[in-house]
Assembly symmetry: D3
């Protein structure tokens, strides 16, 4: 998507300039993995006009290969971002999301078989499931192709209530289940289990709900790795973030990071990237989950939706006390 | 529409900021007339979100009353502008035009009868005719209501080939004819007569074509006032502009202005505004047409789509030699 | 006034650009009330030059009608703002305040009788009393006209020591008393009562002083509604704000809000606007005073002197926990 | 003065930022002479507040010593600049000129005797004569002190009709005459001779008027050196500039430079600086007048009011063809 | 190199911000060829620090593969650019050129044999010859490897007098000759032949010198294709550009383009890119040379050193009259 | 040095603009002392090109005399600054430090004897000792000349491990000792004593180490005044700063300031400036050390490396509670 951000803390009705960049769940994860030394391509559609060209240039800058980007349709999905401050929340206003080139690309647009053969891991985002039937169909076909070719399917549930509308959980359930059956690494939390999948627990605490439900999900859908976060906004406007990783019937938790926030968007995708990187590099679970949580923390301090830290910088953020300047 | 302009002369794929403003044919004409001392309202639809709120604030700043702006739908139509320089043309890329709140507003959105009763003059833009059946229908109903209530209908043909697509002239003809029959002041040129209305002439020169065809149009559709311009881009990147006014079976031409160009967008609407102002103020035709042409010229020197000069500044531009500084 | 702000945290002697906007106590209150759904006009004077034109455009953008703005005189009052940070206070430097068009407008400039007839509520700011005899005279005449025509007089004491100079309290007292006798809603605190009106109390705590003195003021000057705030700057650079409302011999206090601050200017006027809105809408006192305090809090988070939040956003800030993003 | 310029080509009512700098006839001349290797001080008054401090910092940056700047009063005179483009003239709007610290500084502010003793040349600007009696008196006292101490008095007539108002020429004449009797180098043109000094000529062409009147002025007021320019704005928005120098009963003319213009303000002061530098360095008259004209030309290409070119760059501009890049 | 440009037309001593980008002869040619549909890699060295990382990101954005960029050394070569205007030339100030990572990379840094095997065409720039012995040696080894592997060597003479210093032509000659013997496509003009190669001609006109000397060069050094331009700066600040192509004993000339200039840097490399593209695509010589010249022209209108136009936009610039807006 | 800072919180690889200024330990101390009413000159070397000219202009703006700045060599040392946020540290990347004009200036560049005669106090920075033999030699000669002429030598140890490399402490020791023997006021802390000078203590707490070692240093090297700070970064990203002053065998400590941080660079030099000012003005030790610590604190709140507060503002920061706005 094209992110159109009012600089500083003005509202759209106060300012006259916007800062733009391009992001999206897939872009963020691919870019982070590129920064960690992997190579990857975005499978998407962008219009063959100057806006699409700017998006491609931006993705290239992030280290993402444009080889599988189809150029057709008319629009890039957009969102306007007005930064909040303290007691005043940020505001996100979408434009042209449903009519984007990605959402209007028809069957046969992508060569999933070929792509699946050439890649070890493919990341899917649950937001796509909320778009339309055609896109949902493409997504599932792609996941099946990956599965059939022995690749790893990463699926981030990312359920967004405002996109599914009223009665959304029922509409969403079967689509989510189809994806979960195909998935090897799933990003989710206790709310997804309770609301989207309709599972029950008698626990009241989030942590307990997680420990109750996630193993059940893993078992039912045969998912080798499930990871997620417990995030909270503190009274002094700091955030706290604690990650979990469930694998081989066992939970691992990161330490709880508490930190000041500059731009919270993208933290979830950074966490996902950390989990995927840890799994690919066969980090021990403690290292993977803390690496992912530290990646999520650092992305709260970075302009834009995309993790910009190197593996080394994340490792340092896991273990060292804060320096104020590195010379 | 929301104008999203890359500052300076960079391409979208080079820059990272956009300058935004809100415009549109109606906005430009209303704002110019407000600057000349008239009062007026925009009849349109904008979304009830921060982008719509920014648009309303901008219109108010231009002196336009928002009383008849309906707040519904999802989007503001947008265009990206990359400034050209010399041999390199500017590029305009539209986004979300067809899905805008204006274009998706249904029947019964506006109280045309009430509005028509309260206003002396209403301006319509031919671009609207290219959108969809529903909007076309609303436009014609409004024009009829104005006519029925004794108001003046201003219609700017503004035929845009890219919007009508292949076979566009045939598709457009009947819609244009309906509007022309209802109109009191029409902005058009010889190309509209030949291509949209299918009229014939044996003349080869533009000026002669104008003198041959415009009287025929005025007669056939019973239009009291027709005005238009002859515009050209010179080799040294200056533009030339000469206006005509046809009224009471007689042509009046402005002097030909030749001038440097900073931002050509909006010049046509500034010319329209000058014609409407001249007619409302009962200027003699020579003054009206030269005032309109000078308004068009000055709008080539102004950032944005909207005339920003006062009546006095335009009068001075008609008659005086160029000052370099006014202290 | 024209606010000329150095962007970021540079001093005037470091930077080279200024961000400008237009504000003032009346502008801020009118704009906030417009945002809450009321309509209103500024009664003031601005020069008939490009600076005055920019001010008018800005006021229109804020939703304020310029119908009663007289265009004469030479200057717009200005202030330069250099943002402080933490232990370093912000600096405000005035320019051209005394010689502004507003302050040099003579008798007969405004049609107070006509304006008073057409409006239900008029807001007056105590800063005006500090300017000069002529302006003071105009202010009192206007307040009398409002009173005579059955309108509501809102008066914000806003005593600024630096404007009245040495022996200021004595100079100010009679002017303040004249206004208080005419007022229906008064914004003040215990300091105004003690220093400007010379009242005595044996209490030492601010809260007790308020509860001791405000009823006395209400009684002596026959003021139906008095409201004010208790504000403090905390060690960690957060601010705390608690409002009071005295009406029908009874005090109501808001909850105490504690919050991070981006731009504190305008918070007092936002509080005033909340009180006026609550009274006009006949909110119960608890709702009025908490609404006003939340409006004051949010204005600490907003760029510029003027409240930019909708009624809904303020209501949410009163009752909900902080969201970090609204999508 | 503080120059507050809207960036690019927007009007004040369109933009939201200003670019500020500090200038004035004396500042411009001193800064240019500093760039040519001389040292000099500004004799003026600035307020002891952050605006005054920013002005001092800026003057220091230009190489001007602040030793004789008095810090008192309240304001720095200001002007807003909106850049014109092509057929649209630039607009200058003054603020706070008459009430500035410089214009309200009283008798005894400056130690003219001491300053005169320590300096060889002092530059005076005719704009000061238009301010008020007190400032005029200070100016004449200073000029007399310079004269009495054997220094060179430079006087730039710089008659500004808008400052003197109606009947201005009569009001101004005696003040100008007093200064001319004291001057050694005078900047003026034929209009000053005809309108301010009331001299007569039967010539119609500017060049002939110059050749007729300037020798008469030199004789009557016993002025060793008179210099000035013939400037014109061409149809293609280029400017032309030709300088003259009258000395020892003989005229010398520069070649006529024709050039594109970026920011014309300050060109007159750059020309003055070139003449003064040529005289101080005892350049032959041909070199002096062409150096001054080239300095004036280059200042048309420079942002701000102040010449920024070195002596070498000006010498190159006199003699060489235009390079496009210097590496 | 890192280009650090003062925005607008200020000098470094006036401004406080710089606009940065990364370029260089090789970067410009590779980026242009990527835009024309080819793929390519930069063979260079950049430091392993945030400046090097920013350079890599920028190159990726331009569509250049970083696979053969070595990360070592300390610096990126830099240049500061102050834009000239009209009579005032632009100024380029180099920093850290000689100490850059590229210039300090030692023998064995690059795998020339491998790279040569994988690429059809390699572009070399004569500026490199002026740096130091080590870099010169690397360059020649690389060219030999390309030659030995059947690749095409493109060599742009790009002789820069200021880099070679006094007696530069003698110092340079043998290095240039070595490269010319290895080259298949050479960019040069008559001056290179006369001054660097020491050839003689009795012709006085540039065009005649070209026609006299280039065939001699082609013969002596056995170069299949030689191309170059005749460039001039006109009095009205437009530039003119006419290209030539010498191939199979025959000259082809482009039409002479005359055009306004926004940022002339990079035009030579754009011309080179056009010639290389034409040869790779086997365009007829007329098309190749005019395509190259149009590419050079358009790069004068583009911010930065790098051609940003597509093949289609260049083809349109060759044949069509100028549009002012493309919608 | 030239400071090239990415605005806001972007990385170099995200942004496209830099904010530049000029600083350095000597610049910062001189500028602060100028702000406190002293006059001083920088003794350094800058290139005779536009970058050097911009540096000179900047120093002048800060109130520093350029009389002893030699203009030769090629470069100004530079550093890039990417601001950190919270858990993400700032990053400083040097460029061209070793090859700068300052570091390549040879023997005989400066007239130390003359300068020493004309100045009471000269400040030296330990960073210079890490550069090269030639610069070290110049530094020591200068210090000797100051000593010989009865001036006060101020020496700030400022040991930077990354500049000295491996085995740095041994390399540095003798150079530091030479300077310490010549010094009258030394800025250092317990680490310098332990690591650079190789002194031993059995204490574990920093405060105790200071009290153990500093008197030993003062005695051994006969240093009348030693001052330094104890600085820490707190968990909530605030910093704490406590200064000490050792003089006449007695320690004085400032109160511990805890404060929010905007731009920490330059705080050490501000502290040094406060100590030097206190000594020059013969403040009592309590006042000197608290003044210096408050100066250090305020410089954490100021953009750039250089203290921008007046003596009065620092005095207020020592004693008063925090104001939020000064009108
Ligand atoms: Ca972020
Ligand atoms: Ca996410
Ligand atoms: Ca325009
Ligand atoms: Ca139009
Ligand atoms: Ca505020
Ligand atoms: Ca207030
Ligand atoms: Ca200028
Ligand atoms: Ca002048
Ligand atoms: Ca270019
Ligand atoms: Ca080139
Ligand atoms: Ca700082
Ligand atoms: Ca330091
Ligand atoms: Ni703004
Ligand atoms: Ni995802
Ligand atoms: Ni968070
Ligand atoms: Ni850019
Ligand atoms: Ni129209
Ligand atoms: Ni035009
Ligand atoms: Ni700055
Ligand atoms: Ni008020
Ligand atoms: Ni507050
Ligand atoms: Ni703007
Ligand atoms: Ni002057
Ligand atoms: Ni001029
Ligand atoms: Ni500037
Ligand atoms: Ni090249
Ligand atoms: Ni050129
Ligand atoms: Ni950016
Ligand atoms: Ni130091
Ligand atoms: Ni600190």
């Amino acid at each position: 998507m094209m992110r159109l951000q009012v600089p500083g803390y003005e509202f759209l009705s106060q300012g006259s300039t916007l800062h733009y960049s391009f992001s999206g769940s897939g872009v963020n994860v691919l870019s982070a993995l590129a920064r960690f030394g992997h190579t990857g391509s975005l499978v998407s559609t962008l219009p063959d006009n100057p806006v699409g060209a700017a998006a491609v240039a931006y993705l290239q800058k992030l280290g993402i290969s444009p080889s599988y980007i189809n150029r057709s349709g008319n629009y890039v999905g957009m969102y306007f971002l007005e930064n909040g401050f303290g007691a005043r929340p940020s505001r996100v206003t979408y434009s042209n999301r449903l009519e984007s080139s990605f959402n209007t690309a028809g069957e046969g647009t992508y060569e999933f078989e070929e792509i699946a053969k050439k890649h070890d891991v493919v990341h899917f985002c649950g937001i796509t499931l909320a778009m339309n039937d055609s896109v949902r169909q493409l997504m599932k076909s792609f996941a099946k192709a990956v599965k059939d070719n022995g690749g790893t399917v990463v699926f981030d549930c990312n359920y967004r209530p405002s996109l599914w509308g009223e009665g959304g959980y029922e509409k969403a359930k079967s689509h989510y289940e189809e994806m979960l059956y195909l998935s090897d690494i799933v990003m989710m939390n206790e709310k997804d289990a309770m609301f989207v999948l309709g599972m029950k627990t008698e626990k009241k605490e989030r942590q307990e709900q997680v420990m109750d439900l996630i193993p059940e999900v893993a078992k039912k859908y045969e998912i080798p790795v499930i990871a997620g976060t417990n995030r909270s906004v503190n009274e002094d406007n700091t955030h706290s973030l604690c990650g979990f990783l469930y694998k081989k019937q066992s939970f691992t938790f990161s330490k709880t990071f508490t930190f000041s926030v500059y731009d919270r968007i993208g933290a979830g995708d950074a966490y996902t990237s950390g989990i995927v990187h840890g799994e690919l590099e066969r980090f021990p679970p403690e290292k993977t989950v803390t690496f992912a949580a530290a990646a999520g923390m650092l992305t709260h301090t970075v302009v834009g939706d995309t993790l910009m830290s190197s593996e080394n910088e994340i490792l340092r953020a896991m273990t060292e006390s804060v320096d104020d300047i590195e010379r």
